[in-house]
Symmetry: C2
Subunit: 497 residues, 2 copies
C-alpha cells in the first residue's frame, strides 16, 4: 500500500515533468522575489524541496498585486521549458492565490543576503532562507546517515533516560529538574547534585520524585546498562550542560550520538567503529545532499564567521577527509602527541612542559589543523585526566592490570577547524578495577550500585563513544557558530520561544 502526500512539492513536480512541458500543476510555496515589467511579471517561489524553487511567469502584472517576499501563495499553471538561462523549467502561471500576505515594511527577512547574526534574532523565521533550509536538510540527512550505519550493522537504537539521579562525569554542570511545588519546598537544597543527594535526608522532600533529579549530561552509563544485555546499542538524543559559555562551540542543549559495543577487547576496534560511522554518514550526506552542501559552500566566509576562517576549499577538503573517499584517520597516542607539541617549535599559551600536561584547545587545533591537516585520533591519555570508568591501556603483552596504569584506553577525535568532535574509551568492566578507580577519584559510590551490578553479573569487555552531533554538523556545513546548526539554540542567558 503506497501512501502519497496530497500536495506535491516543487521538486516532485519538476522531476515528474522529466524536463518536458507538463499539463496543469499546482505549486505551493513562499515568495522569494517579485519582479514586475510592463507586460508581465516574474515570481520566484520556493518550498524548501529544492534550493532554487521555481520561477513563475505571469502574463498580467495585475495578478501579482499584494505579493511580496515572504508571502505564501498557491499558483496554478503549466510547467514549460524556460527561455531564460537560470532554470530548465518555469511555471506559466494562470492563477495565483495569495494564502498569507507578508507586509514588506515589517517582514524581518525582507532583504536578500541577510547576515547570520541578524537571522539569529529571528530563529522562528530563519528557516525560510535558502541557507537554513539547506542546513536543516543537511542535519536531517546526517542524522539518518548515522541511523542507517548503525542499523545496518545490527545495532539497536535505545532511548536512554533524560531524567537521571546520577551525574555521570561528576562535572557538577547539570541542570536540576523541579516542579512548582518542589521549588516552593526546596529553598535550602543547593549545591551539586551529589551534595543535594547527601542533604536529601535532612531537607524537605522533593515533591515529585523520590530523589533530586537532573538532566542527563551523557547517556553513557545508561547505555552501558543496555549494552550489558544487547551487545550493540546506540542512541541519538539530547544532552544538557549548564556551562556558562558564550563560545561559538557550546550549547546548553545539544544532541549526541552515543554507541556502546560489547565483547570489544582492542581499542583499535572501537576506533574502527567510530571512523566507519563518521565516514559512512559523511558519504551518505555527500551523495544525498549535494544541493544543500552547495548552498552552504556558497556562503561567503565573512558570513559563516568560522573561528578558524576556513575557506570554501578547506571545507570541501574537510568533508572529503571525513568521507569514505578520504584516507584513514591518523592515529597517535597522547605520548606521541606530546612529543610533536614539544618539538614543533611553537610557543604555547599553555606550556607542554612534561608528560601529563592537559591537551588544550590550542594543542588540539595545532595537531589537526597544522600538523596533520586532517582528522586525527589521539589515544591513551593519562589516567589522571580522564573519568573513572575508563579501562587501562594494555601493556606490551596485551595485559591490563587492575591496579591502575599510567594511561587509559581512550580516544579523542580531533577535526581541523572544530577541535574535539567525539570521544570514547574501553570501559573498566571488572568489579575490583572499577571500585579501585572510584576510590582513587574519591567519588561517592552511593547511587552507583546499579552500575557495579553490571560488573557483578556477567560483565563483558566493552567500549563506546559519544559524538557531538552539532560539532560534526559544523564540519559538514562550514558554519562557524554552533547556534547556526540547531533550529532553536539554547545557551547561557538565552532561551527563546
Amino acid at each position: 500500500m503506497t501512501y502519497r502526500f496530497p500536495v506535491k512539492s516543487i521538486r516532485q513536480l519538476l522531476e515528474a515533468s522529466h524536463g518536458t512541458d507538463a499539463p496543469q500543476v499546482t505549486v505551493n510555496g513562499w515568495v522569494r522575489t517579485v519582479r514586475t515589467q510592463k507586460q508581465r511579471a516574474f515570481v520566484q517561489v520556493a518550498d524548501g524541496s529544492n534550493p532554487q524553487g521555481i520561477q513563475a511567469v505571469v502574463s498580467d502584472p495585475e495578478m501579482v498585486k499584494g505579493l511580496s517576499t515572504g508571502a505564501s501563495v498557491r499558483l496554478q499553471g503549466s510547467l514549460v521549458k524556460s527561455i531564460g538561462g537560470n532554470q530548465a523549467m518555469e511555471l506559466k502561471a494562470s492563477a495565483i492565490t495569495l494564502l498569507g500576505a507578508s507586509d514588506p515594511e515589517k517582514y524581518p527577512l525582507h532583504k536578500a543576503k541577510l547576515p547570520l547574526e541578524h537571522l539569529r534574532d529571528h530563529f522562528h523565521l530563519r528557516s525560510r532562507t535558502r541557507t537554513f533550509t539547506a542546513m536543516w536538510k543537511l542535519r536531517n540527512s546526517a542524522m539518518q546517515g548515522f541511523h542507517e550505519f548503525f542499523q545496518s550493522n545490527d545495532f539497536i537504537h535505545v532511548n536512554t533516560p533524560i531524567f537521571t539521579t546520577n551525574d555521570c562525569e561528576g562535572a557538577g554542570e547539570s541542570f536540576r529538574v523541579m516542579t512548582p511545588e518542589s521549588l516552593a519546598n526546596q529553598s535550602t537544597a543547593t549545591g551539586t547534585l551529589k551534595q543535594q543527594h547527601q542533604q536529601h535526608q535532612q531537607i524537605k522532600k522533593d515533591e515529585f520524585f523520590d530523589l533530586p533529579v537532573s538532566l542527563t549530561v551523557s547517556s553513557q552509563l545508561h547505555l552501558e546498562a543496555m549494552n550489558a544485555a544487547l551487545p550493540r546499542v546506540y542512541t541519538m538524543g539530547p544532552a544538557f550542560r549548564a556551562e556558562k559559555s558564550l563560545s561559538t562551540r557550546h550549547l546548553a542543549e545539544f544532541w549526541m550520538l552515543e554507541a556502546e559495543a560489547a565483547f570489544l577487547t582492542n581499542l583499535d576496534d572501537l576506533l574502527d567503529l567510530l571512523e566507519a560511522s563518521v565516514k559512512a554518514t559523511t558519504s551518505r550526506v555527500v551523495a544525498a545532499s549535494a544541493d544543500d552542501l552547495s548552498v552552504l559552500a556558497a556562503l561567503p566566509l565573512a558570513t559563516t564567521g568560522t573561528s578558524s576562517h576556513r575557506t570554501k576549499e578547506e571545507t570541501q577538503k574537510l568533508i572529503l577527509s571525513l568521507s569514505e573517499a578520504g584516507p584513514a584517520f591518523h592515529r597517535i597516542t597522547y605520548t606521541e602527541a606530546i612529543k610533536i607539541l614539544q618539538s614543533c617549535g611553537k610557543t604555547w599559551t599553555h606550556p607542554v612542559d612534561s608528560w601529563g600536561a592537559s591537551l588544550q584547545s590550542e594543542h588540539e587545533r595545532y595537531l589537526a589543523e597544522e600538523y596533520f591537516k586532517a582528522p586525527v585520533f589521539v589515544t591513551d591519555y593519562p589516567a589522571s585526566e580522564k573519568p573513572f570508568y575508563m579501562l587501562d591501556s594494555a601493556d606490551s603483552e596485551g595485559n591490563r592490570g587492575i591496579h591502575g596504569g599510567p594511561t587509559v584506553a581512550c580516544v579523542d577525535l580531533l577535526v581541523p577547524g572544530i577541535g574535539e568532535v567525539a570521544g570514547g574509551s574501553l570501559r573498566e568492566h571488572r568489579l575490583d578495577g572499577i571500585q579501585r578507580k572510584i576510590q582513587e577519584k574519591k567519588m561517592d559510590m552511593k547511587g552507583l550500585d546499579w552500575y557495579m551490578d553490571l560488573r557483578r553479573y556477567g560483565a563483558v569487555p566493552h567500549g563506546g563513544f559519544g559524538l557531538g552531533f552539532e560539532r560534526y554538523l559544523m564540519a559538514l556545513s562550514g558554519m562557524g557558530n554552533v547556534r547556526d546548526v540547531i533550529p532553536m539554540p539554547r545557551w547561557f542567558g538565552h532561551c527563546k520561544y
Copy 2:
C-alpha cells in the same frame, strides 16, 4: 567501503552456516541455563540477536564449572546440525572462557519466568530476559518504521527544543529547569510557569537563562515554526509531564512522534497521513520483527497484566487492524460518537447527558473496544474542549469562519485496549482567528508573539498530530503497563538511576 563489526552475533553465525556444519566459530553471550549430565553438559547462550540463542554441547562437564545463569562467556567450537529437536543447529564447544561470573545466590534474575513486576525492581538488568530483549528490538523497529515512512514521503526530521519558555497547552503540568545557583536565588519563584513569568520582574533573576525555563510538554508550536518554512516536518523526541499519575498509561518522561504538514486544507488529508504512518510502521514491524512479536505474544496474560485483559488473539487482531493488511480505520465525528454513547443502553460513570460532554476514558474505550472493536478516529470535538490553536470545522460549504464555530477540525485516534494513542488538528493559521481564540480562552498573549509572527508573514493552512510512542508500543507488544515499553521509566515518585 563496507564496515564489518569485528564480533559476529549468534544470528549472524547461524545465518552464515546456511544450516550445514560450519568450521570453527566464536560465540559471545550470556548464559541462560546450564544442564550437566554425567558425560556431557548443555549450555544455552544468548546475545539478544535471536530469541532462542544457541545451545552449546560440551563433552567434558568439567568445562562448565563456574558457569551459571547470567554469566558471560566466550565459546569456541563448530556449528553442527542438532540431534535434539529444539533447534536446527548447535555448537559443539571445544573451549569455554568465563568472561564474567554471576553468583547464582545473588543474581536477581536467576530464576526463569520472573513476573514483570519483579523485573521492574531491576531496570538495569531486565534487558537480559527474552521478554525485554524482544521489547527493545520491537521498539527499535517501530521507531525506524516511523522514520522510514516520513523520510520516504519527503518529510524532514527536525530537532525541536526540549528547553522552552512557553508551556504550549497551558496545562501547568510542566517541569521547571534550574541550576544550583538559580535554585539558591529562586526561593520565591513558585506557581505555574506563566505566573513565574509574570513574577519574573519582581523576583531574583534566574542565574542561567534570561527567563524561567521549563521542559517541553509538546513540540507542536516549535514544529509549526519549522513548518512555516519546510512544508513537511516531523520530530521524534522526548516530552515531559509533571502529572502525579500512578496509572499504567502515564510516564513523566515519554517519547512522542509529532508531524506537521503545510498546505493541508481538509481534515481527512491529515487523517490519511496519520493512518498511513501507523499502518506503514506496523506493517514494517510485522515483517521485520516477527520473532520478537512471537516472544511477546507468548507471555501469559497474567504476566502482561493488561488493564483490558487482552488475550493473545486480541493482541494479534489489534496488530492486524493497525497494519496495512487491516481495513481502514473508522471515522466518526464527536457528534456521532455522542449519539452512539447515548443510545447504546450503557450506564456511564460520567453521564453523556448532552452534546458538549467530555469524552472520558470509559467512553473512548467503549467506542474502540466494544462498538467498533477496531481503531477509530473521532473528529470535530467541541471547540470549548480543545486548545486555542485548532482551526474551526468547515461548514457545509467548506467555509470556516474566524468568529468561532461550535466544533474544531481535530481528531483523536482511539485504539482498543489502550484508549487515545494520537491526536491532531488543522491549525488556525489566520492572525485574526488565532488572536480571537487566545482572547476567548483568556490566555496570556505575552511570549506568543513569535507564534503570531507565523500568522503575520506568509501563513499557510496546515495541520499536524502527535502520537504517544509508548502507547503505540503497548498496542504492538500487548504490554499492559507503559513502564514495560521504555527502558528506564520515570513516573510520579520514581526516578531510578
